[in-house]
Symmetry: C2
DNA sequence: TGTTGACCCTGACGTAACGTCAGACCTTAC
DNA sequence: GTAAGGTCTGACGTTACGTCAGGGTCAACA
């Protein structure tokens, strides 16, 4: 009843190649039930079941090593395995989405008639922004991130970027005019800084604390992370804040 | 003005490793502008521009070989390049989506308390269905596929599958009773077949013609494509159709 | 001057999952 | 007997580097 198959026929049953069968054989992942006198591999229906399991697990993204472990250890928790694999693939898809966004933004720039290197720079920027995001997320709890996402729409974000840039300019101007951080100009600037930070934290002291932690941890910043202010501006801001912290 | 960088420093500027720089050097993808007396690689700001281009192109999914071609050939059509790459990535994401769906269906089966192999078989089934879809799509034009998608909801599809299965059973019964394809039973069956095909084609003669082409092209069917009817049923259907084709 | 520690070099091997020869053997049909 | 088609093993190629291993360089410090 249980007939045997030669390599080619058996391979076609599961939609793989003969060479793949050789490969699985050498790995010990699927060894044929027997050999003919001439040394030909002879597979059976039981082998087919195993091969189909292998194909299925490979399809959902496991490596051959993982499959070997899964199939050897007898009582696999398939539910957990599937969930874990689903999460990994979902993460991958998320990464693809972000890459696609980067390309789309670059295409926009090309469409606007900009030069090629401007578009490539845009991609680099998107990469860096995303790296930055990933890295910053480590500093906040999941709830804080959820709150931030609600509060921090792209428009708000852009406005905030402009506000900070303007603040930086004004600080430079103040320094150029020889103002002291402890003077009236310093007070105004410290206040504006307070407001901007408040906008970001949304009044949440936990977020504020973590922002502080992130900011003072400069030693651990990723290398290609550009610092927001020049040293001089930074010092002025610090001094002003110290002088007028309520 | 234009200072030079040693490997480590230069690598950090673009967020890559020293070993990657060695690699790009050997490939000729990015050769340092100079070497120190001791043989150390010396990179310049111009090298940095190139490295950043490389990183950007790599990020959006090009291989190093492709990048080399792109950067060497001077006037790249970046717009076309980006579009093409976007399409490739979109296709990849689509594949991921389908894999995720397969996992979710398998999880459902596990959640229903079924055994592990039932879940894995489900995955295999999903793979085969998708392969089948991909393969069948080659036989229809884009417009025909659009029309089919509208007409062919999952429910309709399931109903159709049941109808075909029922028809096959009735044919087997007719054969068992010794009925002739040219008899009254054959006429009824030929009519039911006509109706089912009409349901699929939606009356579109182009779709009907391509379905016919697909069906008669059995020699080219993928190997793991299971044929819908047994030979006997198939023959009966053919004869009946021939006898009563209007 | 010698030494330490931080860099740098090249070359060779490893990775994952097979594909692609190359050289040799088996089977079967005409 | 031979020609066609299937099978075997072994070796190298693929991608983008990581990881040693063995050996040189540079700056500072004792």
């Amino acid at each position: 009843m249980s007939r045997t198959y030669h390599a080619r026929e058996f391979a076609r049953l599961a939609g793989v190649t003969v060479r793949a069968l050789h490969h699985y054989d050498r790995l010990g992942l699927l060894q044929p039930s027997g050999r003919s006198d001439a040394g030909y591999r002879l597979y059976t229906d039981r082998d087919l079941v195993r091969l189909e399991e292998i194909v299925a697990l490979k399809f959902i993204g496991f490596t051959l090593n993982q499959i070997q472990e899964l199939l050897n250890r007898k009582n696999i928790d398939l539910a957990a395995t599937l969930r874990q694999q689903r999460e990994i693939l979902a993460e991958k898809r998320h990464g693809l989405d972000r890459t696609l966004q980067a390309i789309e933004q670059a295409e926009q720039i090309v469409a606007c008639g900009e030069a090629a290197d401007a578009a490539l720079r845009k991609i680099i920027e998107v990469i860096q922004v995303q790296n930055k995001k990933d890295w910053m997320q480590k500093y906040y709890t999941q709830e804080q991130l959820d709150g931030l996402r609600k509060r921090w729409s792209p428009e708000v974000q852009e406005q905030s970027q402009r506000d900070w840039a303007e603040l930086a300019q004004d600080v430079e101007a103040a320094i150029a005019r020889g103002e002291e951080p402890s003077g009236e100009a310093g007070r105004l600037i410290a206040q504006r800084r307070q407001n901007l930070i408040g906008q970001f934290t949304g009044g949440d002291p936990g977020v504020a604390a973590n922002l502080q932690k992130l900011y003072t941890d400069e030693a651990n910043w990723p290398s290609n992370f550009k610092r927001p202010f020049s040293d001089a501006v930074n010092r002025f801001l610090c001094e002003a804040t110290k002088a007028f912290s309520t």
